[in-house]
């Protein structure tokens, strides 16, 4: 195992990914908190198990690794849900994680239902198809969670949650998310330290909605750059002027702030028209862990 910031002999791009010190983490501490989180939030509501969608990417691989350590491999089930245009490497990588962790898994090809649906809408653009696929996977995970008496484990990281780079009620849906407060560059550090296969940690992140797609090309910037900006913007609440003084281009700041603002709805429950004096989530406020 390699701890963040100490790996002088680690491959170049790993140290490069961890070079921004304010987002460097102590992996042992974070692992301990997240394992406790999974154990506590799953078990106290009466469950022992989780199901998780495995894409072969670093986020779901890390979440599965944490879950297997927290609950035991027998209590974690990975769902591999490829579409016929998915990169075959994604499934191979996901299977490598399954083998490494010794967890149960099932492959559910979502092509038949997706193709049957889009036969009605042959002109649907890739993003629309991608959203439908994400929601198809979500319904499968929630069905599995019923069948296996398990909770759905979330795999969205903080960077994509802030940027809205996910499908609402699709991959953003879950019961319990252990990695939603870790930026992508922190996910890399923790995954590396926990022994997620190097090939998975180092490959270009992709939603795998079409061949050759990568997050960073689609977003138009690198995770390393945007995490640095998000750190100053979100964690430190720097003003626009301060961000520019920190060396960020105004155009880059505008694009990122726009994404954060415009995706706020994805991070909230649907807006409810207020009529009574105790409206859910506005003035009817109870903790989620009510009674636990």
């Amino acid at each position: 195992m390699n701890s963040a910031g100490s790996g002088m002999s680690a491959p170049a791009n790993r140290t490069e990914r961890a070079e921004f010190l304010p987002l460097a983490i102590n992996p042992a501490l974070v692992e301990r908190i997240l394992i406790g989180f999974i154990q506590d939030e799953v078990r106290k509501v009466g469950f022992q198990r989780v199901v998780i969608g495995l894409s072969g990417g670093v986020d779901s691989s890390l979440a599965a690794t944490l879950a297997a350590r927290a609950l035991g491999p027998a209590n974690v089930k990975g769902l591999l849900m490829p579409y016929r245009l998915s990169d075959p490497r994604s499934q191979r990588d996901a299977e490598a994680v399954v083998r490494q962790l010794g967890i149960d898994h099932e492959v559910v090809d979502i092509s038949p239902q997706i193709d049957a649906y889009f036969a009605r809408y042959p002109d649907a653009e890739p993003a629309r198809r991608g959203n439908k696929m994400a929601r198809e996977r979500m319904t499968i995970l929630y069905d599995q969670s019923w069948g296996w008496q398990a909770l759905v484990l979330g795999t969205s990281n903080k960077t994509e949650l802030l940027l809205g780079y996910g499908t609402i009620y699709g991959d953003m849906a879950s019961a319990v998310n252990p990695i939603g407060d870790l930026y992508k560059t922190q996910v890399w550090q923790l995954a590396d330290a926990l022994g997620v296969p190097t090939a998975i940690v180092q490959k270009a992140p992709s939603a795998d909605l079409w061949a050759g797609q990568t997050d960073e090309v689609e977003l138009g910037f690198q995770y390393r750059e945007v995490d640095r900006l998000l750190y100053y913007l979100i964690e430190r609440r720097y003003s626009l002027a301060e961000l520019e003084r920190e060396g960020f281009a105004r155009s880059f700041i505008d694009v990122v702030m726009g994404k954060v603002r415009d995706s706020q709805y994805k991070r909230r429950l649907p807006v409810i028209a207020k009529l009574s004096s105790r409206t859910i989530d506005r003035d009817f406020r109870y903790p989620r862990d009510w009674g636990h």
């Binding site: 460097a24 983490i25 974070v30 301990r32 406790g36 109870y286 862990d289």
Partner: protein, 290 residues
């Protein structure tokens, strides 16, 4: 040194269930039984140990009253050892307080109502709770004590006020959620509390008991790290991790005197000067008409 100069103190670093007072009361009985078996004379529970912390609208549902049956039941548990228990206290005028009560020999001896209610970031206490209006010390069988709840100790004046009342023992029940990850082995919150508690102990030459809870509520982790610190600032005992545990030490109460003889900070403290200067500052700050 006679036995009455020693105090076997225990901190119950436990994880209350959120909004389930009955279950927590049972848990208290369990911890009290275990602590008694190890000879504890004073057992401290964390902030809101009877209810859990992020209560929101549950505050009114889990509250107890000063004269109610729940308080009597708690008091009855203090027949053989002194207790500090955290609860939501409803006053007759229906204000709700985040309180820690000191119980001894079957009776309620002191109530501290949390004064500094954090209402920023992840905290929302002032939305649900009324704020206490005093920092009072009180006598115990083991010297003078004072209670400060969690955020109270982030305001340095609180411990100063208790110190000038001559306390031997500061007790801080806490429900501190951990946050602030870096390359350090401990959370930023844990570092801050360690700094505060040891500073108070050493520079007010008093024993300091910090009892933090553990467990998770709505994804927030409580980091534990409960500490017993001597009047010279030395860490006598600490629970390093966030597991449920009893944290115990036998204190030599004479150490307060020893420390104040070699380090007479309290003797040299200029209360009148402080009061006068604070009054002057207050006048200057309130002098302007708008």
């Amino acid at each position: 040194m006679s036995d009455d100069h020693r105090l076997r103190v225990t901190l119950a670093q436990m994880a209350p269930a959120l909004g389930d007072r009955q279950r927590n009361l049972e848990a208290h009985r369990g911890w009290i039984g275990k602590a008694k078996a190890t000879g504890a004379q004073l057992l401290v529970f964390p902030e809101l140990s009877l209810t859990g912390y992020f209560l929101k609208d549950l505050v009114s549902e889990v509250a107890i009253t000063r004269d109610g049956p729940e308080m009597q039941e708690l008091a009855s548990l203090s027949a053989d050892l002194d207790l500090v228990v955290g609860a939501v206290l409803e006053e007759p005028d229906h204000r709700y307080f985040n309180a820690s009560v000191y119980l001894s020999r079957g009776e309620l001896r002191h109530i501290h109502r949390k004064v500094y209610l954090p209402t920023y970031g992840m905290f929302d206490e002032q939305r649900y709770l009324a704020s206490g209006d005093r920092f009072r010390s009180f006598p115990t069988g083991y010297g003078r004590a004072g209670i400060l709840i969690c955020e109270d100790i982030w305001h340095l004046s609180t411990a100063y006020i208790l110190s000038l009342q001559g306390v031997d023992l500061m007790i801080c029940p806490s429900a501190s959620p951990g946050r602030g990850i870096s390359t350090d082995e401990r959370l930023g919150t844990a570092e801050s509390y360690a700094l505060l508690c040891r500073t108070y102990a050493q520079f007010f030459t008093t024993f300091f008991l910090y009892c933090n809870r553990v467990g998770y509520e709505d994804g927030a982790n409580f980091w534990g790290g409960s500490m017993i610190i001597g009047p010279n600032g030395d860490l006598i005992q600490q629970q390093e991790d966030a597991d449920e545990a009893l944290v115990s030490a036998t204190l030599n109460l004479g150490d307060v005197r020893h420390e104040r003889l070699s380090n007479p900070l309290l003797r040299d403290e200029k209360l009148e000067l402080t009061v006068n200067e604070l009054r002057r500052v207050w006048h200057e700050r309130t002098r302007e008409p708008y």
